[in-house]
Symmetry: C2
Subunit: 229 residues, 2 copies
DNA sequence: CTATGATTCAAACAAACGTATGAATCACGT
DNA sequence: ACGTGATTCATACGTTTGTTTGAATCATAG
């Protein structure tokens, strides 16, 4: 079986699709753009992946499998070392979001391009994408939710889930890097090279996330800490 | 001039486009879907708005003009009452994000549909949309950034801009309401009616945002509070 | 060297896209 | 009642979309 050229074509397509989906979105990217940038024949996508939808899924699977395995690896190591005791919230947040952001410097596993694609895709309207992501993430989310529940036994579980949502949103928008509202002005000029964006981003996002996660609960009158874990 | 039917058609188109852009995105929504759902002729969009891009801009302008005027109105009132003294961070955050979230119950100005559309659009790849949003938001962002700078004189301006980004992301994802990772499980069943999602969301998001905004600065060694406002 | 299965290729498919056209219909001042 | 400008309508235009086809080319095993 001649898998030399084959897998080469497959990866060229995946790389081009990853970059174009990030830049123009799923619906905004055509098969001809993808095959054109990858330098392969138009029919190659349908031959190797079956359809545009399957290609999109493979673009994510290629990166997410590694990312979520790594997240679980870090979490498992932490829990093993804790020996039954609950982890600190900062540990859990770092295992989930820190592992994600450290992908930015890991060109081997997609680097910044995949991070931006992932950030934009979390608000993607297409139903099949969200369904696919939910399936890919199901087990990881369950594990990290459980870890957070144990880590914050005085906080109602529903409240933790809400804040996990907020943390996801802040991170997703940060790595999408669109700056839709042109928030930056001249203060960013001091950035010599954009390469270290992730280096600067990681500690800043982390303290923001932890500040939000550990913020006092809203409305002290009702919905108090009665429903502890 | 017969503007009865005319403005009726215009608004029907805007309503349908708003809902469909929210559900399927800009590229994923066709003119025929829009005119079909609006119950108007296919050519009506190009007659009243000129093009699909102009329609998209009008969908946002219709709501954003009101929202940003309201934000400035609240901020102006607060600053007038403060009589020169800096505002509290919670006031500024509420004027910006609270005003936004309170739109959810205001069907007159788009309600939840527009909120979800706005949340998803902030990570939209299309360049012309982000450029348009940046222009629509330019003055409001400047005013609120200035207010935050004065409110937190000990925090470096760059740090405040970062955290404004994070707050935008958390809010944008929360109002998009996609739940791409299916974070909710059975705990949401207790929600009798989905109507009060915004009622529950507002205080929760607010305390998360304030917790993040006021979190201790990252890395105490370098990048300390030297550059105060 | 030849046979075989995997891969690439140019070309075409029907369908859907955003937009434009000109006639028909409407509302309304005179 | 008539004329005028605004609006609606059915229809078509030229592209572009994702996908398919069948022949050409490749690598490799016998």
């Amino acid at each position: 079986m001649a898998e030399n050229r084959s897998s080469d074509t497959r990866e060229r397509i995946l790389d081009a699709a990853e970059r174009l989906f990030m830049a123009h979105g799923y619906e905004g990217t055509s098969m001809r753009q993808i095959t054109g940038e990858a330098g392969v024949n138009l029919a190659a996508v349908n031959y190797h992946f079956g359809s545009k939808e399957s290609l999109m899924q493979e673009v994510f699977r290629r990166r997410l499998d590694w990312l979520n395995d790594e997240r679980l690896r870090v979490l498992d190591a932490m829990e093993k070392e804790a020996a039954g005791k609950p982890l600190k919230p900062s540990q859990i947040v770092d295992a989930f979001f820190g592992t994600l952001l450290r992908m930015a410097d890991d060109e081997e596993h997609g680097g910044k391009i995949f991070l931006r694609l992932l950030g934009r895709t979390l608000t993607e309207p297409s139903e099949f994408i969200r369904t696919f992501l939910a399936h890919e993430y199901a087990y990881v989310m369950e594990r990290f939710k459980e870890a957070l529940f144990r880590s914050l036994p005085d906080v109602p579980k529903a409240e933790i889930v809400w804040r996990f949502h907020f943390m996801l949103g802040a991170t997703s928008y940060a790595i999408a890097g669109t700056d839709a509202l042109r928030l930056v002005t001249d203060w960013q000029i001091e950035d010599s090279e954009p390469e270290d964006r992730a280096d600067r981003l990681l500690p800043r996002l982390m303290s923001f996330l932890l500040g939000g996660l550990r913020a006092p609960l809203p409305g002290g009158d009702h919905q108090s800490k009665t429903e502890a874990a």
